[in-house]
Symmetry: C2
Subunit: 218 residues, 2 copies
């Protein structure tokens, strides 16, 4: 009858709050996977619940609606996207900065393929939920980083190019390994990529990107 005894986790020594956080994290992880596989409409709350190993109403208890859950997943993804952007450090020489950025993006595609696909799906279908973020936060960030690149170009340290176009090219050639993984596997004739194989591809992409910018691999 008391609040404490009503919580199954209380007896296990964990606080109610901790249980809640753990549940939320489990739901978010499951939702990211299911949204990646099925898209927003295609994903059902039942399937997410099953993937998170808990009854459907619990999802509504923690997140209210399907849309709110989707937004939470997107927010989580955008935060790590921002983190990756910082891998582009203007210090040192262009080749190092660029190679580091490409490797960071390739790592992200490898480690969070579901997140990448949810993001891609959202953008492809019009970015209804993250449009504001794209035209505010992301746009500003690209302009900042773009000025660094323009400085390098003016200094003759890399080939001339529109920095914004360059960013789109870099994103495309790194995210494709997560987003189009099925196509990659089909064309290569494998069911999965080993870490070694992925590292090899990563270096191919790095070299291509560096050459594309008129830089020679270190």
């Amino acid at each position: 009858m008391t609040i404490i005894s009503a919580d199954p986790a209380a007896g296990g020594g964990r606080s109610r709050r901790a249980t809640g956080l753990r549940n939320e994290a489990a739901i978010l992880a499951a939702a990211e996977r299911v949204f990646a596989e099925r898209g927003f409409k295609g994903a059902s709350m039942s399937e997410i619940a099953a993937a998170a190993r808990m009854p459907k109403p619990n999802l509504h208890y923690y997140f209210g609606t399907k849309e709110a859950l989707y937004r939470a997943v997107l927010t989580d993804i955008l935060e790590t996207w921002l983190g990756e952007a910082n891998a582009f450090v203007p210090d040192g020489d262009p080749a190092t900065a660029l190679a580091g950025y490409v490797r960071a993006k390739m790592r992200w595609s490898r480690e969070r393929p579901h997140a990448s696909r949810v993001f891609a799906n959202e953008v492809i279908h019009g970015a209804l939920f993250i449009g504001q973020y794209l035209s505010d936060d992301l746009r500003r960030r690209v302009e900042e980083k773009g000025r660094v690149i323009e400085g390098w170009i003016r200094g003759g340290r890399m080939a001339a190019a529109d920095p914004k176009v360059l960013f789109f090219i870099l994103w495309a050639m790194t995210q494709t390994w997560a987003d189009f993984a099925v196509q990659v596997h089909a064309v290569l004739g494998v069911s999965d990529l080993s870490d070694e194989e992925y590292d090899r591809i990563t270096e191919e992409v790095v070299v291509f990107a560096l050459r594309g910018c008129g830089l020679t691999p270190a």
Copy 2:
């Protein structure tokens, strides 16, 4: 009561068959757009019907089920995809072949953005309907074209690279302009790209691709 008089188009001088073909084409075009915007699940037959300016049951009359309509749209898209692949001609020098291919893919992204997005959506969500095509038809084609590239590399006519990885990079950096158009517009701060602006971007992409392959723009 007769077959002829039952056809509204008969009086207009058009044959029933022509009307049917025209209707099918209208439905396919509308479906491509709606599937691109909403995804397979997100698209509703009512919305497609409205976009095609005809009552919902007519769609079922022509295509049976939503899934069959979706397959028809995909088939239509894959056929033009194959056509584009032929833009990669092994004759002449690598730079010409590569530049021609990149321009053809950029043109496709510009002219059939909805088709590109439907394709992207399908692959991202596991290529349930076109998986067979990817691992048979596309794979074979990539291997053929790949051998041409390997010949160029052995002949020292371009930088060393895994041809398959190269193809994925080329696809990614050209298709992104259709698939992620919303993100492009947001970052550039425009609501649309003019033909001139798109041509400029195309040349940036061509130059980047050529340099990436160790080739100098003509």
